[in-house]
């Protein structure tokens, strides 16, 4: 069915209202949802050419600010801008509040879980989660046993991937190690604000700009108690890392030093950075490099990015590392299946955000079910991330499924399966038209003494038509996410414009 409103708007003429998927802007009969109505009206009256110009301006500003990633070719290196879609994804404030409560609950439970498994391990002894999933996990760091972490915040910066279906929001993945993308959220917001200032103001969008301040507060609160004015640094793998822009951006916003491993040294279990005026002690390290690489003495000895002896200084309590080493065990795909039970065990609460039903192939019935329904399920390898080692059953060929089934039978412990989700879609500018594309959302959660969630997040888009993969390496882009408070009845948006 083609709704009247949409036919009247040239930009929406090719918009495909497919009720299989939840649409972020339109309800089932194709009319705009109430919290999107004003935005829709404005866009409807905007010539598609103007929208395209906004898009080009935003892209150019990203290029000039150096918000790029580098593609290394044979002849030369090319810098590309992550594709930005200028139409925001709009989420209703009350829906968001519910999600935020769920995220807070989830992170609280996972931090308790991490404390437990690096101390007494009650949850394992009580048989809630199998020992081998915890202690046999390749991200479990035996070196972290007995280490006390300030405020119990093993994870102080978390970026959870959320998706929406007709059943509401669900967690796709907890990113508890070194989540990235927050600078894109902030850069997107900045660009959108500049290119549609009036519409933005009228829309009562909740602020995200204070993220860097909150992050700095979080890092400060982690400092050893005897240090009154802690020296905080951001540890980056360096300029060749694809997230380098983000590292420099955050360091600048927080006014802290951006250091590489070679800028730091450890003496007498204290960490120092080399400055032009000699060595200066460091109290808190916000590290953006993986566990494996932070200390070649303790972890991977071939790492050239890390700082020899850093982990000893950490164990001695002379320096704080955030996120703590060893958090990867809690965002593992097999442990994911146990998160509702983890929440119940530590908090005595039901999970607020609904889990995606997950089948563990390590269990005999699970394997049988997965093999029998391979054409309907998504099967993922436990240790992998970023869309690798994954089978999307409905999109795979018969041969691909057959090959995957063989691999699965050979090593069932290594796999989990989930139903293929009908990811929600949001309007995106494609050429001169607006078309629906699949999206997800990565909000960022900060945890120290208290939990802080910035309303919004990085909204990733699968720009390829029909694609469900939002990863930037595979044709994904991003867009701004607006959390809006819908005005009460009788109060018109025009009044809010002032």
């Amino acid at each position: 069915m083609i709704p009247v409103a949409a036919t009247a708007a040239p930009a929406f003429r090719q918009y495909d209202h497919d009720s299989t998927f939840y649409d972020e802007m339109f309800d089932g009969d194709g009319s705009p949802r109430r919290h999107c109505a004003d935005f829709f009206e404005t866009i409807r009256e905007t010539p598609p050419d103007d929208l395209r110009q906004i898009q080009e301006r935003v892209t150019r500003s990203f290029l000039h600010e150096g918000i790029t990633f580098t593609v290394y070719g044979d002849e030369q290196t090319i810098e590309r801008v992550f594709p930005i879609d200028c139409l925001p994804r709009i989420v209703r404030g009350d829906e968001w509040d519910e999600v935020a409560r769920g995220l807070e609950q989830r992170l609280r439970a996972l931090n308790l879980f991490l404390h437990d498994i690096y101390h007494e391990g009650h949850i394992v002894r009580d048989g809630v989660i199998p020992a081998e999933l915890v202690y046999g996990n390749k991200h479990y760091r035996i070196e972290m046993r007995g280490v006390e972490v300030p405020h119990g915040a093993y994870v102080s910066v978390c970026g959870t991937d959320l998706v929406r279906t007709h059943d509401g929001f669900a967690v796709l993945e907890d990113n508890l190690r070194v989540p990235s993308g927050v600078s894109y959220m902030l850069a997107c917001r900045d660009a959108i604000k500049r290119s549609m200032p009036r519409l933005f103001r009228r829309s009562r969008v909740r602020d995200v700009e204070h993220y860097s301040r909150r992050l700095l507060e979080t890092l400060r609160s982690l400092a050893p108690p005897q240090v009154s004015d802690p020296s905080i640094v951001l540890l980056t793998p360096g300029v060749y890392n694809s997230a380098y822009y983000e590292h420099a951006f955050l360091a600048r916003q927080m006014g802290i030093e951006l250091v590489e491993g070679r800028d730091l040294l450890v003496h007498n279990r204290r960490v120092y950075m080399r400055t032009t005026a000699g060595l200066r002690q460091v109290d808190v390290i916000y590290r953006r490099i993986d566990d494996d690489f932070i200390d070649p003495v303790t972890f991977r000895e071939d790492s050239v990015l890390g700082v020899p002896g850093l982990f000893h200084a950490y164990r001695a309590g002379r320096v704080v590392i955030a996120n703590a080493p060893g958090t990867g065990v809690a965002d593992d795909k097999a442990v994911y299946a146990y998160v509702p039970r983890i929440i119940k065990y530590y908090l005595g609460e039901e999970s607020i955000i609904k889990p995606i039903p997950t089948t563990l192939c390590r269990e005999r019935e699970g394997l049988a079910y997965t093999l029998a329904n391979l054409d309907k399920l998504v099967v993922k390898m436990v240790g992998e991330s970023g869309g690798y080692g994954m089978l999307v059953g409905p999109h795979a060929s018969r041969t691909e499924r057959k090959e995957f089934a063989a691999a699965l039978r050979a090593n069932p412990d290594n796999y989990i399966s989930q139903p293929t989700l009908a990811l929600s879609r949001a309007p995106c500018l494609v050429g001169a038209h607006i078309e629906p594309r699949h999206v997800d959302l990565r909000p960022f959660i900060l945890q120290s003494e208290r939990t802080e969630i910035v309303p919004g997040g990085l909204c990733r888009v699968a720009l390829k038509k029909g694609s469900l993969v939002v990863n930037s390496s595979q044709g994904g882009g991003s867009k701004d996410a607006w959390i809006v408070d819908v005005p009460e009845a009788g109060e018109t948006p025009a009044e809010a414009d002032g």
């Binding site: 290029l63 000039h64 600010e65 150096g66 030369q76 360096g238 300029v239 380098y244 420099a248 951006f249 360091a251 600048r252 802290i256 030093e257 951006l258 250091v259 590489e260 070679r262 800028d263 040294l265 003496h267 120092y272 950075m273 080399r274 400055t275 032009t276 005026a277 000699g278 060595l279 200066r280 002690q281």
Partner: protein, 324 residues
């Protein structure tokens, strides 16, 4: 400030200054084509490559006697292209901008958004420019425009960045590079002073050192070779003279490390900076001492660079452990 970042800022600034010198020399050389003999043009290219210590395509200017002949064969377009847009030539304008930008990227947290934006935008536009876009129109104009982008960068730096350590290292890099390149330019004009037959246009030297107008204000537009030479070495108020650079370097080091220049024993870097300044303020201005003066400036400025490194960038850690 991090020692590594100071290093990045210092080099960001040096590369940009070298690019500025290169652009100016190219602009002057491209302009000289219109009203000079082909032998003069060839001699100009030789001086340009020798001053910048770049090996031209097909010859080594430092060791070859046949050089001027080879420049007669090569056309200006090829040479200008090589010095402007050749990515494989580390001394080309676009390579120098690229390296300046790469250093800026690694010191991103210390410089402002506007500084980065200016550096990055200009680099991206240079990267996408080719000589034939403008060669037949107004090549000199292109070099002037690009120079203007550097002035803009400096304006943005001086007016947006806190005048703290980062600013000091940026300034130090600029004047260290300036004193070294200018010394080489002057040294390559020096032989012409004693050459009776030369019809060299000495205003080219003034233009190469962005000092034509300051010179005319100080003297008159009548160009006297010896006055040009001493002006560019000893004049205290024109920003492109050796003495001006030496004063800036000494003052800069004083700001970076006040104690290093005040207490006994003096830091090596401060001592050398003082010697360099003394040479250019109080040293001989006699004609027979010219070659020696330039050689001494070269020796001292190289030594100073090494000492700056030893003191602020690559110091041994065990000498720098603090109490806390």
């Amino acid at each position: 400030m991090l020692a590594r970042v100071a290093d990045n800022l210092y080099w960001m600034s040096r590369y940009l200054e070298r690019s500025d010198q290169t652009i100016r020399l190219l602009g002057v050389q491209v302009r000289s084509v219109t009203d000079n003999t082909s032998a003069q043009v060839a001699a100009g290219w030789t001086r340009l490559f020798r001053s910048l210590k770049v090996t031209p395509p097909g010859g080594d200017p430092l060791y070859s006697d046949q050089l001027e002949d080879s420049f007669l064969l090569a056309d200006a377009y090829t040479l200008a292209d090589f010095m402007s847009f050749e990515h494989d030539n580390p001394g080309s304008m676009v390579s120098l901008w690229g390296m300046s930008r790469e250093n800026a990227r690694q010191a991103r947290q210390e410089i402002t958004q506007e500084m980065w934006g200016q550096l990055n935008r200009t680099y991206l536009s240079l990267r996408d420019t080719q000589l034939h876009f403008f060669w037949n129109k107004e090549p000199e104009n292109f070099y002037k425009e690009t120079s203007a982008q550097i002035y803009l960068f400096r304006g943005v730096t001086d007016n947006g960045l806190r005048h703290g350590l980062a600013w000091d290292f940026i300034r130090l890099g600029r004047f260290m590079e300036r004193i070294q390149v200018t010394t080489e330019i002057l040294d390559n004009y020096r032989p012409a002073l004693d050459d009776e037959d030369t019809d060299l246009d000495w205003s080219l030297l003034l233009r190469s050192c962005a000092s034509f107008e300051p010179y005319c204000r100080h003297y008159t537009p009548e160009i006297d070779p010896w006055k040009v030479m001493t002006f560019l070495i000893h004049e205290p108020e024109s920003p492109h003279t050796l003495r001006f650079a030496a004063e800036e370097i000494r003052n800069g080091l004083g700001r970076i490390d006040p104690a290093g220049g005040a207490r006994h024993p003096l830091q090596a870097a401060h001592r050398i900076a003082g010697q360099l300044r003394a040479l250019l303020v109080y040293g001989s201005q006699d004609r027979e001492d010219l070659a020696g003066t330039l050689a001494e400036v070269r020796r001292l400025s190289r030594g100073l660079h090494d000492e700056i490194y030893r003191r602020y960038i690559f110091f041994p850690a065990d000498q720098a452990l603090p109490g806390r």
